[in-house]
Symmetry: none
Subunit: 226 residues, 4 copies
């Protein structure tokens, strides 16, 4: 039910804001995340978001001047967190560990913040009207950098020669699928990532598939392991 990070972690700039203002903004963003991810931008209504946030429509519009403003704030609220994992991919680390770590982080984000995943998916599927600029600049820069990292690993013979971009896309696609299509997954398996066992099984299956796919032995035939 809580948003990305919940209310504790106020990702929004808190400068010059009273305690109550900050609290309400977060209540709204959480409610908005729920509604927008469930119904999409047009399907969500200001009234329901306000109700969910426990305040009047008018008051909500005191904090955010329009429905679009709420939507944008919600997206922004998410985006940083959503893209963070990729940043941790460490050029100096062991490729297998690094990739496995990244995959698991992404799956855990799907487990913990499925609504954020769906909100993001929705936005992109509708043509990314709000975040296209960010995708084309920040995200592109980040992805290029990490492609370079992978490329280096490949050049160093640490993994099979694959197109790093498609590798990244595959990781994104696979991990986010468990959040975005959770209803379908539940229909087929009776379970989803909220089930700890299923989560672990998913992590193993996906990690193993992708790592082996790029020529990395997985799970590592551990000699000694931490």
């Amino acid at each position: 039910m809580a948003g990305v990070g919940g209310q504790t972690q106020s990702s929004s700039k808190t400068g010059g804001m009273s305690r109550i203002q900050e609290k309400n903004r977060n209540l709204i963003l959480d409610a908005a995340l729920g509604e927008f991810s469930k119904k999409g931008f047009s399907g969500a209504t200001v009234e329901r978001i306000a109700a969910e946030a426990g305040m009047s429509k008018s008051n909500l519009l005191y904090y955010f001047s329009s429905k679009e403003a709420i939507y944008n704030a919600t997206l922004a609220h998410i985006l940083e967190v959503w893209l963070a994992p990729l940043k941790t991919l460490d050029p100096a680390g062991d490729p297998a560990r690094e990739l496995a770590g990244y995959i698991c982080q992404k799956i855990e984000m799907s487990a913990n913040f499925p609504e954020a995943s769906r909100l993001f998916a929705n936005e992109v599927m509708q043509g990314a009207p709000q975040i296209l600029p960010i995708l084309e600049t920040d995200l592109k820069r980040l992805v290029q950098e990490k492609c370079g990292v992978i490329e280096d690993w490949i050049d160093a013979g640490k993994l099979r020669r694959v197109d790093p971009l498609h590798l990244i896309f595959t990781i994104w696609a696979t991990t986010q699928h468990y959040a975005d299509f959770s209803v379908q997954i539940r229909a087929l398996t009776g379970r989803d990532l909220s089930d700890a066992a299923f989560l672990q099984q998913t992590e193993e299956a996906v990690t193993s598939l992708i790592l082996n796919g790029v020529g990395l032995a997985w799970p590592p035939e551990e000699t000694e392991q931490e």
Copy 2:
């Protein structure tokens, strides 16, 4: 702009329908697919669908009694085609060929019918209000059957032991991602599946990644081929 199969491929049961009726129904379903996949159910308007189909709102409502009816018909129109590829997975075939074939079929569907893919994604992400029953029965049955096929291949030592369900999910996720997130992909690569070269490159990358992931050599190092 064309729907799944366009107007050439008569939209399912044409029984007892005049030429003009069939033509208009197809015009509507095509237009609706475009709108619904672009804007979602609530974001789409009957007026725009009608305009796109080249007829008056009233006339559209002469063919489909409500917006929801159009939506459901559009979904139904797509669904069969959308789920068809999996059926072709042949237990008697060579696992590598079969899986590669399935993956390429799925990617080509993403290339040719990205709107269908997005419509389906949208529906499932909103909780599959219309098609959940189908997912739980028809799709489940089909998936179980094909899991059995893969299981048999594994038991026969033809591929690495992986959970067939997660393999299927991975294939779905990866292939559909190129349609559903095409805007993001275009933002990052400047290209998408409508580009023939990119399509081929994607097919190779994804097929290779997944097949190797399940322990199948790919591409086959055969001397003479095809």
Copy 3:
């Protein structure tokens, strides 16, 4: 279900009309009576009337050029029959017999043609937009004539001095009530005029009440009776 007189009795001018035309006009009028009396003018739809009459909307509009035309024809179809009983009040007859006969005729019309009664009530309650002219001329003339008859009976000492107009209104009100408010009557008694016993009981009660009300002994202490 049948209209006033059903299809057998074509009250409409049949001049220069083919057999099939006449049949269809009557089908329409019957259906229209049902719909208009049930839903009122605005609540009724041409489509439902057509369906009820077993033909297409277009065909119906071939017979009657507009909804209003159907309505007017239906009213006219009824009106003559509806006002007929009063004409039978015979100045030369025995007042008690005459009045009792009139009351029973009216009650039987309510029993046999409740829809006609409701259609008429509806029209008048909405301000008689169509039939006001008739009320003000034909009906007024007729009522004045019969008031004269009653006046004569009173002058001849045959019944108590009452205002003939109010007597007529009372008869109309009471007898039509059993048709117009039949739902309420059924809610309170479990029965209505379609029940033969209830019909007879109603006739006795109403006749006795009104005749005694005007000072006529009823039922007649029959010496010999036909």
Copy 4:
């Protein structure tokens, strides 16, 4: 134009309603009564009701969520008042006085609230879709009780043996007729209950007819009378 009791008489349960809310609700109910009684449910339009109530359509829908809700509220607003007179029939009172009083109350209600009468008539004639349950429970109970009272009077030899139910129906029919069919009455007499003289004449005629009908002398030939 004024509703039942107009705006002076606060519309039923006013609990927890601001002054302005109560005012507007009453404005709406008054306007709605006018429109619904004049045009019926389908003939009335929300737009006209709003205009009549002096507010925008949207604002009206802020108070009542749908046309049907307005209709039901209007009906409820009326119903209690409409059924009240019967409750006053006092078993301990003099039958003639009691019945005469009841008849006059009903006629005066027809004079003062003809629109309420027509709304009620309309509702019942259309099959009482909204109030049938009330008719079958509350009204039925009340009517049975009062039938008992009349029965007792009859058993005590105070009036002629008549079926109390039909007596009540006759009173309802006759008195309401002057409201419901006022257009017809005006067409025939040039006057209606809004004319004080005609009102009094009607009261006398109807009361005398019915009381004599049940064997009660009327008017009472008392010597001194207030």
